[in-house]
Symmetry: C2
Subunit: 340 residues, 2 copies
DNA sequence: CCCCATACTGGAAGCGCTTGCACTCAGGAC
DNA sequence: GTCCTGAGTGCAAGCGCTTCCAGTATGGGG
C-alpha cells in the first residue's frame, strides 16, 4: 500500500506538501503540485480514508436513513442521492431502518454515532422525539426528505397541495362524485404523508362546495395490491355514482386501474383515475398523475446538504419542491359533463 | 465528544484495558469489564470509527456495488444485504454504478481504493477484466451475486436450471408450443443472466425432443413494460399455436399477462404464463413462477463474506442457491392435453 | 538598500484508537 | 518451597493523514 510518505519521498518533498497538493488546501507552487500529482498517479496512490478522516474530521461520506427500499419512491430518491453524492466524491452509507424497533434504536444510538458520516438525509421517516434529539446531538447537518419535523430542515413537496391538484384535475373535468384511496393509520404509522394527502383531497372538494363521502374513502398501503383491493371494494359498491378516483400514490392508482379492468369498468370512459408520484410504470397504464420528481428530490437534498457540509454550515435551508400535473389517458371528461 | 481516555479515567483503568473490554479482544477480568461497560454506558461513549479503523485496519463496513436500484431484484438483494450487515454491526456503503463509464471507472479506481470497506459484494454486474483486477488488488474479500466471474467467488442461482424448470413445468402440463421472452443483447450488455436463461429454455425443449421456434422468442429489458410490448407482439401473431409462455423475469411475465388481457387472451385458459423471480407482485397476478429467494441471496452473500472477513480469510466459497417452483393460477394444463 | 508582506515549504504534534511487549500476581505441578 | 504458566493490566509505539507554526525565499514599497 503506497502511503503519503512514499509519494513525498518520490517527489522529494515533505508529507505536508503532498497533503496540501492533493487536497487543494493551502499553498503549493504550480510546479511542485504538478510533480506531486504526477508521482502520485505513477505510484497509484489513494489516500486512506480512515487516516484522513481521523486527522481532519471530514469523512466524505453521506448517511442515508430509509425505512425500506422496495417502494418506488424510496429507491428512486436513493438513486438521486447516490448519483449526486458520487459526483461530489462522497460515499453513501445506507441505513435501512427496518420495522424492528431494536434495530431502529440501534441505528440511531450506535451506528450513526460512530461518526462515519458528515451529514445525514432521512427519507420519509417520521422521527420520534428521541430520534430527532439523537440526530441533533450528532452535530452534523441533517435534512429530511418527504417527512416532517418541527425542528429539522426538510426538502419536500407540499403533500396537501399535490393531492389537491390531483383532485382538482378531476373536478375540472366535471366529475362530481370522487373516491379516494389513501393510507390508513394501520399502515405507515410513522409517516405523515398519508394524512396530508387525505387532507388535500378533502380540501379540493371543500373548495368546490362538495363534501367527502366517507363511503368512498378506501384505505391501502400505497402498493399496487393495496390499491387493487381497496379499489375493488370501492368499485364493487352499487349505486355510488362515483366517476373519478384519486389515489394517493401511483402504485395504488395502478392497482385501481387493474381492479376496474377486472370489474369491467372502463378507464377513463366510466372512471377517471389519477395518481400521485410520477412512477415509471405510469406510462404503461396511461396513468394521469402528478409528478413529484422523486429522483430530483434525492439529488436536490444531497446537493443541499453537501453544500452545507462543505461550507461548514450546520443547518441547510428548508426547501419546497415542485410538482407537475401529467395528463395521460386515465382521466377524461365526466360522462355528460358540459364541455370544459 | 467523550473519548476512550475519558472512559479510562472514569473507570480508573488504562485506555488499553478499555479498548480490550469494549472490543472483546484480549483478556479483561469480569469485574473490570463490567465496570468499564457501565462507565461507558453512562458517558454514552461510542468509539470513533475513523480512529478505530486507522489503528486496527478493520472498517466494519461492507461495500455493495450495484448497477441500479429500481428493479426488484436489486433492491430486494440490497435489503437482504443491509439487514444482515446491520445485525452484524456493519455499515453498508452503496456504490451505485450508473451507466456513465466515467463514474464506473471512478468507483473502481478511487472510491473503493480509499479502503473504507472490509469487503465488497457485487450485484449482477458483469465485470471487465480491469475491474476484476482492481477488485482483487484491494486485497479484501469479494463476492458476486447473480453475475459471473471466472476468478471471483460467487453466490448465485443456476440460471440455466431455473429457466429449464420453468419451461419444464409448462411442458409437463402438456404445452407443446412455447414462447419465450428474455433479454436482448441490446439491453443489459454487461450482464450474462439473460443468455443463460435463454439457454435453459432451449435446453428444456431439446430434452423433450422439441425445437425452439425463433419466431416465438421475444426480447425485452426485464421490466413490465418490456414484457408487455414483447408479449403483445408475440401474441399478436396469428396461427402460432402457442399455448405457453416463459418469461425470464416476473416483471416481464406480468407484462405478458397484461398484454394477454388486452388482447382478450385468457390466462391460463388460452395461455399459460410462467415467470422467474418470486417478485412480490406475482401474487396479485396469480403468477406461477420460480422463486429465486432474492432477499436471502443478499443475506446469504453478506453472511458469507462477513464470516470470511471475521475469520481473516480472503476468499469465500462459491455457493449455489436454491429455487422453488411456485405454482399459482397463471399456468394450467394445455387445452386438450391428456390428464397428467 | 532595508523592511515587510507574501508565497512556499518542512517539522512536528496530534487525531483517538489498537496492540505488542513487559510486568505482576496467583495458583498448580513438582 | 520453587518454578512455570497464564490471566490481567499498563506503557508506549504506532496507524497515515492534516495542519499549526516557524522558517526561508522572493519581490515590491519606502
Amino acid at each position: 500500500m503506497t502511503s503519503l510518505d512514499d509519494v513525498a519521498k518520490a517527489a522529494g518533498v515533505s508529507a505536508a506538501t503532498v497533503s496540501r497538493a492533493l487536497s487543494g488546501r493551502g499553498n503549493v507552487s504550480t510546479s511542485t503540485r504538478a510533480k506531486i500529482l504526477k508521482v502520485a498517479a505513477e505510484l497509484d496512490y489513494v489516500a486512506s480514508s480512515a487516516a484522513s478522516s481521523l486527522a481532519s474530521g471530514r469523512m466524505r461520506n453521506l448517511g442515508v436513513i430509509m425505512p425500506e427500499l422496495h417502494r418506488w419512491f424510496f429507491n428512486t430518491v436513493l438513486t438521486g442521492i447516490s448519483d449526486e453524492a458520487t459526483s461530489a466524491g462522497y460515499d453513501v452509507t445506507l441505513y435501512n431502518v427496518t420495522g424492528d424497533p431494536e434495530v431502529r434504536r440501534e441505528i440511531f444510538s450506535a451506528f450513526l454515532r460512530r461518526r462515519r458520516v458528515d451529514a445525514v438525509v432521512v427519507v420519509a421517516l417520521e422521527l420520534s422525539e428521541w430520534e430527532e434529539l439523537e440526530l441533533k446531538r450528532l452535530g452534523i447537518p441533517v435534512v429530511i426528505i418527504g417527512g416532517t419535523s418541527g425542528t429539522l430542515p426538510g426538502v419536500a413537496i407540499d403533500d396537501l397541495a399535490i393531492t389537491e391538484l390531483a383532485a382538482a384535475h378531476l373536478l375540472d373535468l366535471g366529475h362530481e362524485v370522487l373516491g379516494f384511496i389513501g393510507g390508513a393509520e394501520r399502515f405507515d404509522a410513522d409517516y405523515k404523508v398519508p394524512s396530508q394527502r387525505r387532507e388535500g383531497f378533502d380540501q379540493a372538494l371543500r373548495r368546490r362546495g362538495l363534501q367527502t363521502d366517507p363511503a368512498l374513502i378506501g384505505e391501502a398501503d400505497f402498493t399496487i395490491p393495496g390499491g387493487f383491493h381497496a379499489a375493488r371494494q370501492l368499485l364493487g359498491m352499487p349505486g355510488t355514482g362515483m366517476t373519478g378516483l384519486v389515489a394517493a400514490s401511483d402504485e395504488m392508482a395502478i392497482g385501481a386501474v387493474l381492479a376496474a379492468r377486472e370489474l369491467g369498468i372502463r378507464v377513463p370512459e366510466d372512471l377517471s383515475v389519477v395518481g400521485i408520484d410520477g412512477h415509471e410504470l405510469g406510462g404503461l397504464f396511461e396513468l394521469t398523475t402528478v409528478d413529484q420528481h422523486a429522483q430530483s428530490q434525492g439529488s436536490t437534498a444531497a446537493k443541499l446538504i453537501l453544500a452545507t457540509v462543505e461550507s461548514g454550515g450546520t443547518h441547510p435551508e428548508n426547501m419546497d419542491l415542485s410538482f407537475d400535473l401529467l395528463v395521460r389517458r386515465s382521466t377524461a371528461k365526466a360522462p355528460g359533463a358540459l364541455p370544459v
